[in-house]
Subunit: 372 residues, 2 copies
């Protein structure tokens, strides 16, 4: 889809991603300081993912706030393709989504695209992806979403409701358009060609259910944007608002380029043991340090390319601590091994708590699932 | 799809249809006398639609009988695209299907493709086609199908069950194939491209439910064959039998060419009054008679091109009566007006009874409908 150096599509992200170019090529808008201040008026404080430009781009976020200020609350929509266990990259988008739910007191509709994963993964069975949908839901629930305001569904199991609405989208969408948007060819399967219709449904399903037009805000990693470029074209034709979007950068792959993904490279799953986390970080996290300790002490490391540091921008919420780590690493007083240890401790502390909540989530799963 | 003179696709039938050429081009087999005798071994008598070659072609019917004789009963699958009221053309396929259910004591799965009709008819809403699905079901039920062995469903309302299975078909089916089979272009909508996956599901759904492989026999008008050429390719890849098919000629359009269709020409609906039937037959039924009564008495008419006579081959079950009508018309002793009166009386007698049963069907509709 993109020029030579990197690729960002819903099914493949690789290379060294130029986020400024993505803004330009996808036609999105940067999140400015002014927009952040406008958010802060309602949230009182700003999530570090905003101030750190981890959520860096958007579509129509000003309009969402206009409506909110008029008393027309939005709902949140995000999702997950359950082809594997959940990894830390997914968690970061959902943590921010949870913050939005808390601050704005809004509903979240969470789509598990088990249908998509079956259609796009040659060796995945329906039984496997459908089972993973409910396994992955535990990670969503563990983050503390409000059971009264959060609706999680498997596309396969919720098809009675979704298929009917997806037909309305599909009728307005030609093969030419999905071909141009996703780079499909004639040997794509017909399920893949239809699928984006299913992904569009939650943009307007709450409006169908409430029988009134409700604004939709979608927090997502920017690789999923293509689906919603299509949805934004079609929604007005069905009489609904275009969904607004807020885009996240990817949690970098441990090896240092592209996004972390279970299908390529090394992945830290939410169910990993402390030993596994330690081993993966020690072995694979790309280092911005020098060749020798002596050289590192003298010249300092480069946190801007160091994956452990990049990860801390996602997991260390305290700006002051992060600043100190940055300066210490740059000056050479903090060694790569020490930086990795900070990250390992941070992740393991988070995961210990997450895994405890994930176990508890099994007992309340049914409170979150919608099927009919 | 076909050469110049006629077209037979699931969405368009026109021109003067050469059924021998269809057998050749679709690659089906003629129903021979030997095959009829084999059927008769089980049914004791033969339905006039067989002896009159109204059901004239098949795929794998010998195999269905092989399995039946081994104790492996088949189920029947047919359906209806509910874009309008039911007309007499549809009734003829279902009457024969009812005969098959009675004689072989088998289940019927009846699909209402309200999703298809929404996707293919620009001005039809989901609400309209979905409502027509249940309206049309009354005509099916009025024919006397066994409520214990007959399962009627709307694709939209049964999507929870169907979508999951359709995904399995869709994963094995490329755009190239549907393009080649149906003549689709890049401006077809993505729902149309996906749809045949839904039409394939009932070929194996009873097998999924029973968790064993059950042969499927599909009675249909031959324009729907293309869907099942695809289904027959895919079923073995999913571990199921290829569905067998038995093909019907079309009830001719009153005007004399193509099939009767509510979208083109004059249509007799099952809910028409005796006066409407009389008026339509008198005004539109193409006549094989002569210019003047005198000439007709002298030279005789041509029943082979006379639509009223052709219709009687579908509605007059008594071979002896039909033979006399044929001979009298050919000799000139039966005039066109008299022939039309025979047809009008026959249809109105059938419709009076059908309309009565159709009213009663409203009370037992729920016994036939499956939704989950």
């Amino acid at each position: 889809m993109m020029a030579k150096k990197f690729t960002v599509t819903p099914w493949r992200v690789s290379g060294s991603i130029d986020y400024n170019r993505l803004i330009k090529e996808f036609g999105t808008e940067r999140i400015t300081n002014e927009l952040m201040w406008r958010i802060k008026k309602h949230t009182k404080e700003l999530h570090p993912y905003l101030t750190r430009k981890i959520f860096f781009s958007h579509r129509d976020l000003n309009w969402i706030l206009d409506e909110y200020e008029k008393g027309n609350k939005f709902f949140l929509y995000t999702g997950r393709g359950p082809s594997e266990k959940v990894h830390l990259g997914h968690i970061t988008v959902w943590k921010f989504t949870k913050w939005l739910q808390d601050k704005f007191d809004v509903e979240l509709w969470f789509q598990m695209t088990d249908d998509e994963k079956f259609l796009f993964k040659p060796n995945l069975t329906i039984e496997e992806t459908n089972k993973l949908a409910y396994d992955n839901a535990l990670d969503v629930i563990a983050l503390g979403f409000d059971p009264k305001k959060t609706f999680i569904f498997s596309n396969i199991d919720y098809a009675k409701t979704l298929y009917r609405e997806a037909l309305k989208v599909a009728k307005k969408l030609t093969f030419s358009t999905v071909k141009a948007t996703f780079g499909f060819k004639e040997d794509n399967n017909v399920g893949q060609i239809f699928f984006t219709s299913m992904q569009a449904v939650p943009c307007f399903l709450p409006s169908v259910k409430a029988n009134k037009n409700i604004p939709c805000l979608i927090p997502l990693a920017i690789d999923q944007d293509a689906h919603f470029r299509i949805a934004r074209d079609i929604m007005p034709k069905l009489g609904y608002y275009k969904p607004a979007i807020i885009h996240q950068r990817f949690l970098p792959a441990l090896e240092g380029s592209g996004k972390m993904s279970a299908s390529e490279g090394t992945t830290i799953f939410t169910t990993d043991s402390p030993e596994e986390v330690e081993k993966k970080i020690r072995k694979y996290a790309f280092s911005g340090g020098r060749e020798t300790i002596k050289e590192h002490r003298e010249k300092g490391g480069n946190p801007d390319i160091d994956v452990s540091y990049q990860w801390l921008t996602f997991f260390e919420e305290d700006d002051k601590k992060l600043e100190k780590i940055y300066n210490d690493y740059r000056s050479g007083s903090l060694l790569t091994g020490e930086l990795k240890q900070i990250l390992i401790d941070k992740l393991n502390k988070f995961l210990k708590e997450h895994q405890r909540k994930r176990e508890k989530a099994k007992k309340i799963l049914n409170k979150f699932i919608v099927k009919n």
